[in-house]
Structures are given as structure tokens and as C-alpha cells.
């Protein structure tokens, strides 16, 4: 049963929702109703790229439960919010190696974001991805 929540799994787009009324609010994860106006919302697959809006580092193992440490034991990890073109900021674990420092993390940097079995995960875009 116990799958490692950190395994890359099958990367798919973020399944969000969008208000069908005038306020055009995008939410993640998908909700049946719009959190702003209470009107109906419909499913929408969100953009898979965005920019890092803010971040921090989880330095110590969170309380367990609910936290499930990965098979190799807890390692500090970075996390943040990714701003998507739809005008929504989505919480994600950042797939950045922080053992050598935090130089690989910068507010505003382009990232790709995917959904698997666990929470969304974001990683910095390579220069090639940024150009395309």
C-alpha cells in the first residue's frame, strides 16, 4: 500500500477548476463551486509552467502522522508557491537539490509544475525549455 509520495509517478497536468460566472477565478485542486462567488465551477487542466512566487525550506521532519518520511529518511526540502498564467498560485514541493546551498532557488524563476500521486511538484526549467 505505502507508495512513496515523492516518487515521480506519472506526471500529469494539474486538475484545477474555473468559475463559469464573471469572476473567472481559477482554483486548485478542483472545486465544485467558485470560492469567490459560490457559483458553479468547471474542471480545467492548468498550465504546466509558471514562475516561483515565494519559497521556504522545511528544515526538520514534520510531525508524523500525518507526515510520511520517504524510504531513505527525512531530508530537508524546499517548497513554495508557483504562479501560473491563469492567475493562481499553487503550493508545490520544489525539486531542487539544496544540499550544497540555496543558489538554485530564486523568486521569479521559471518552473514546470506537475501533479502525480502527491502534492504538485515544481522544478526549474532548463534554458532550452525557457526558449521554447
Amino acid at each position: 500500500m505505502a507508495t512513496d509520495p515523492r516518487s515521480p509517478a506519472v506526471a500529469v497536468g494539474l486538475q484545477g477548476s474555473r468559475c463559469r460566472s464573471g469572476c473567472a477565478v481559477t482554483a486548485y485542486p478542483a472545486e465544485d463551486t467558485c470560492p469567490r462567488c459560490g457559483g458553479p465551477a468547471e474542471p480545467e487542466v492548468l498550465t504546466g509552467t509558471g514562475t516561483l512566487w515565494t519559497w521556504t525550506v522545511q528544515r526538520y521532519a514534520p510531525k508524523s502522522p500525518p507526515f510520511q518520511a520517504p524510504p531513505g529518511g527525512f531530508e530537508p526540502f524546499a517548497l513554495g508557491y508557483v504562479e501560473l498564467a491563469e492567475g493562481v498560485r499553487v503550493a508545490a514541493v520544489l525539486d531542487v537539490d539544496i544540499r550544497e546551498g540555496l543558489d538554485g532557488i530564486r523568486i521569479g524563476m521559471p518552473v514546470t509544475v506537475t501533479a502525480g500521486h502527491g502534492v504538485p511538484r515544481a522544478r526549474p526549467m532548463t534554458p532550452g525549455e525557457e526558449d521554447s
Partner: protein, 381 residues
């Protein structure tokens, strides 16, 4: 048309770790407030109070006296004290009672907060993947704020340094040993950019107030302080709160901005009129951001204000003169009334070693808590 409400008695216990139960602490604070007002418990005509995790306030009558007084329990997270205060004010203004008690108390076990994803309407993955940690939220909010407004880590450390220094001047505070900027910066990162000594800890404590109508106050010997306004607000769409899988794009709204604006409007004065204030400082970054959210400065001005000593006891805008949450710890139900207690002492000129010079006449208090609630008061003397 609103009647003036006067605070005629204020009491608090020491905050920190305690052998006493939360209810015992509450009884201590209530008796101190009654003694300060110079009245007996039997004179109180209505009472409002609560704790987050230390029991029901209305059971305190077993120790205070079975007088038949109407006693309403309040449970409103970090706004518990503020909500009890608003209820007390309304009881007086409506004519329900002329002498009213507000009490807040708490006692949290070590490392108290143990959130479950389902209680917050989140998928289990947010807990199992390690995204349900409150300190992450504080780190991420101030991280973005520093990026947008040029606040440096040193400013965060200066805020904590001031808290410990003021705690040293406050007999009832928990953390009373001075800690310098470098030690704070080197105390170990908890959630970047916030270090261990920049955070407050859950603790135990109680605070209580006796509020009176002007007619009832006239017969008392104590020195009353006028409660000009008390306002509670919850978040609007577009705020950034703890445990959010997503937040809306665009400029953020702030419940603290809403609650403080409502309190100032009701009081008929503005932030520029305030001589001393208490702002929620769950961690250093919160105090910095709340200075702007409550209208005391523009975003980014804190960098200069804090460095220049403006928020020190002798500065132009003293903030958290008793050491705030960082030095007192945070018994959730008691925090808001502890702030009002401190302003009452400052406006009466009875704050001892931590007294703001120049006879401060107007004070302000502000609490903020999850998931987006804020309570503010304006007081004058």
C-alpha cells in the same frame, strides 16, 4: 450612537510554563482585574471568555462564586480574547449590563499544534508530503514581502532582539534574557528566512479585564481607560493564509488591514494618533508586516524604522513594549487581552521600567490568527 466603555480593571498572570491549570490561571487573572477595579465578583453583571485548549470559561464560576451571572463561552482561535472583548462592549452598549468581565486563558502542551488534513478540508497528500507545517506559511509570506519591499534578515533579527529586551523589563514575561542580533541570526533556520529565536512558542497564561459603563465607573476608585473601539474581522477573498493549496493571483487582501481600519474608523482617529501599540508577532516577520497592514507605515519603511529605533520603548512608535508574543509566548486565548492589559498599564503610566516616556494618551492592539481572523482595539486616556 455608541456609549463610551471604560476599562476599570486589568489583570494578568505570568506567561510561560506553569504547574497551574489554565482554569487556575484564569481565576488568578480575574481576581487581579477585580482587585484593580476595586470591586467584588458579585458586582459583575455579565461575563464573556474562553480558551483554545484549556477548558470552558463559564466553569470558572465554581471558583469565582455562584452569583447567577450570565457567562458566555467564546471560542474563536487567536481572536478569542478580542471576541470576548467585543461581546463585553456590546453588552454594555445595549444596556444588558453595566459591569462586565472579559477573560482569556490557555495552556498548550509542548509543540502543541497537530493539524490533520481532513480537519482543514485538504487532501491527505498535503499531510503525508509535509506541507502542513505552520512555520512554512510564516516563512513564505515574509520571504515574498522581503523580496517586494526590501526588508533584510537583520531587520527580522532586530525585531526579535527588541522583544527579548522588552521582555526583560516585564516581570510577567516568559523570555526575559536578552539575546543579541547575531545570536538570533545564528540560532538555526526553522523555515527560511526565519530562525528559531524569531518565533514565539505556545505557552500558558491568562488575562482579564473589567469593563464598565460611564455611570458604573463613576463609583469606582480605579483609574479607567477608555476603550474607543474593538473590531473583529475574518478574511476576504484574496488573502494568503496557512495551509492553502493555492492562493489567488493579484494583490493580496489582509484581514489585519480590514480589522484595523474598522477599529480606527469606529474610534474616529487614525494610526498617526497612536502613541504605543501591540501588534501580533507570532514571529519577527509578522510584526514587520503588521506595522504596514495596520497603517503605521508604508510597505518597506520598516527597514529604516526598525534600524533607527522607532519601534523601541523610547522611539516614535513603540511596538510590543512588553516583549509581545516572542517574549511572552502565545497562550492563544489570552494573547489579545494581554495586549490590552499592557496598553492599559502604559496609558495609566504604570508600566514600570518599560513605561513609554511622555505620557502616552492613545494605544492600539492587534491580533491575527488562522485561518484569517483579526481583532483590533483603540484605547485612550
Amino acid at each position: 450612537m455608541s456609549t463610551d466603555v471604560l476599562i476599570c480593571g486589568a489583570g494578568r498572570t505570568p506567561f510561560g510554563r506553569s504547574q497551574a491549570s489554565g482554569r487556575q490561571l484564569a481565576v488568578g487573572a480575574v481576581n487581579a482585574a477585580l482587585a484593580d477595579a476595586g470591586i467584588e465578583w458579585s458586582r459583575v453583571r455579565a461575563a464573556f471568555g474562553g480558551s483554545d485548549s484549556a477548558g470552558l470559561a463559564d466553569t470558572l464560576v465554581a471558583q469565582l462564586g455562584l452569583t447567577g451571572v450570565p457567562f458566555v463561552n467564546v471560542k474563536n482561535g487567536c481572536a478569542t480574547g478580542g471576541s470576548a472583548l467585543v461581546s463585553a462592549v456590546n453588552a454594555i452598549r445595549s444596556g444588558m449590563a453595566d459591569v462586565v468581565l472579559a477573560v482569556g486563558f490557555d495552556k498548550h502542551p509542548r509543540g502543541a499544534f497537530d493539524p490533520r488534513p481532513e480537519d482543514w478540508g485538504l487532501g491527505a497528500e498535503y499531510g503525508s508530503d509535509g506541507l502542513m507545517v505552520t512555520t512554512q506559511f510564516f516563512g513564505m509570506k515574509i520571504q515574498r514581502y522581503m523580496h517586494d519591499h526590501g526588508i533584510t534578515p537583520r531587520t527580522l533579527a532586530l525585531v526579535a532582539e527588541k522583544a527579548y529586551r522588552n521582555g526583560g523589563l516585564t516581570p510577567e514575561a516568559w523570555r526575559r534574557k536578552p539575546v543579541d542580533v547575531d545570536e538570533i541570526l545564528d540560532s538555526g533556520m526553522v523555515s527560511d528566512p526565519l530562525t528559531r529565536y524569531m518565533f514565539c512558542s505556545p505557552g500558558a497564561g491568562a488575562a482579564a479585564l473589567v469593563l464598565c459603563s460611564p455611570e458604573a465607573a463613576r463609583g469606582l476608585e480605579g483609574e479607567p481607560v477608555t476603550l474607543r473601539s474593538a473590531a473583529v474581522r475574518t478574511r476576504r477573498f484574496g488573502s494568503f493564509e496557512v495551509f492553502s493549496p493555492w492562493i489567488p493571483g493579484g494583490p493580496l487582501t489582509s484581514v489585519s488591514r480590514d480589522a484595523s481600519a474598522a477599529a480606527f474608523e469606529e474610534a474616529g482617529i487614525g494610526p498617526g494618533d497612536v502613541d504605543v501599540c501591540q501588534l501580533q508577532d507570532t514571529e519577527s516577520g509578522a510584526e514587520v508586516m503588521h506595522m504596514a497592514e495596520c497603517g503605521f507605515c508604508e510597505d518597506g519603511e520598516q527597514e529604516r524604522l526598525v534600524a533607527s529605533g522607532a519601534t523601541e520603548i523610547g522611539g516614535t512608535l513603540p511596538v510590543n513594549t512588553d516583549g509581545g508574543c516572542i517574549a511572552n509566548g502565545e497562550p492563544i486565548g489570552a494573547s489579545g487581552l494581554r495586549q490590552v492589559y499592557e496598553i492599559v498599564q502604559q496609558l495609566r503610566g504604570r508600566a514600570g521600567e518599560r513605561q513609554v516616556p511622555g505620557e502616552p494618551r492613545v494605544g492600539f492592539t492587534h491580533v491575527y490568527g488562522a485561518p484569517g481572523v483579526s481583532a483590533c482595539t483603540v484605547l485612550s486616556h
